[in-house]
Subunit: 223 residues, 2 copies
């Protein structure tokens, strides 16, 4: 993927990344994409959607009855953004306060996936993309469920990543001020799992849940 | 705010909320809005931006040199979305896996704020919206810094909130399956504050940082 006019990061250019590895790593770390499109009159819309990545394809899914998915699936232009918040950047001056984040903006056309076997294979990926290992633990979708799910395929045409990390960049003239400066790391972290009201009694937490909880507690402490 | 055709939540209608209190509470709990707009040719764009809410106005800010902020500030239609992830919903079937979340979609026109005193007042709000109490601890912006910041004002014309919470909704036929079902709560949480490389030596953590860390650890355990 290259820097075309549509995706060129013009502000703070050193934060822009166009290499595939940076873009894929951010997409693979997120769950929700904000998907934008415009209607015929130029009215923009943006909605949050779950996604999975396969190479340079992003799959989006939702209910077959969704008017937005119907519009989206007709091959219209979309722009998707995935943003991960990594921290608050606290400078000595208001002006240099910032957030640490990783984001990807990707452009492509959304088309509905009609092929049932492609849908079935990708819907399994959605379960594991949410929680690795979960697909093997739960009951797979049957044909009715697959037919009731709309799946969109967006081949990424252009994409760019933007990353801010590290500490605040205070003006040299402010360094003498007795004001604490630094970063508060932020990460999405998991709490204690809560069994469903109608949970089958006597079941231990499954491997997927135990592994996730362990990984996501560590991640917060370590970054 | 009412349910107009533009903002009507058609899918899973019981998840839709149009009352101002629900919408404001979600907006006030987020930091980043995904802001979408279309160019003259109908090409959509979506970018993440920090925001603050004042009544039914959302303010967005960025650098004065940003091409996107320049386009946005000319009074074009925008659609903004704020999404907060609250948990993973693990059902016995793949099909009923879901996320718990709160989101708001808002529509309005973005216009640049030219008045310096309005800008100064709102920029202070951005610092406190990121970290309550921080504005009083750090050096306020001077005139050069205020002039170097572009501020956009979006009067919300329509908005709707969408919320999913609670446990999985398994099909009755699946209840006999020996598969763990429940929720993994998720929340953005803070790690240990990290002083800047050039931090003034010997400063204690400020009140804003200590209060935030206490609140955001509790929140994860409690929700």
């Amino acid at each position: 993927m290259h820097a075309h006019p549509r995706n060129k990061v013009r502000r703070v250019a050193q934060r822009g990344h166009y290499d595939q590895a940076s873009i894929h790593a951010i997409l693979d770390a997120g769950w929700i994409a904000h998907v934008s499109f415009a209607d015929g009159g130029g009215q923009p819309f943006v909605i949050p959607m779950l996604y999975v990545r396969e190479g340079d394809v992003l799959y989006l899914h939702g209910s077959i009855a969704s008017r937005l998915l119907k519009s989206l699936g007709e091959g219209i232009d979309t722009c998707l953004c995935v943003t991960l918040i990594d921290g608050m950047v606290l400078a000595r001056s208001h002006f240099h306060h910032s957030m640490n984040y990783r984001s990807v903006v990707a452009f492509g056309k959304a088309v509905a996936v009609a092929d049932t076997s492609e849908k079935a294979a990708i819907l399994v990926r959605f379960v594991d993309a949410m929680l690795p290992g979960r697909a093997a633990e739960a009951r797979p979708a049957d044909d009715n469920e697959i037919n009731a799910t709309a799946l969109l395929r967006v081949q990424i045409e252009d994409a760019s990543a933007k990353v801010r990390n590290g500490g605040p960049k205070d003006d040299p003239a402010d360094r003498a001020l007795p004001i604490w400066s630094g970063v508060i790391p932020l990460a999405l972290s998991s709490g204690e799992p809560i069994a469903a009201d109608d949970a089958t009694p006597g079941l231990a937490l499954p491997d997927s849940v135990r592994k996730f909880s362990a990984r996501w507690s560590r991640q917060l402490g370590g970054s």
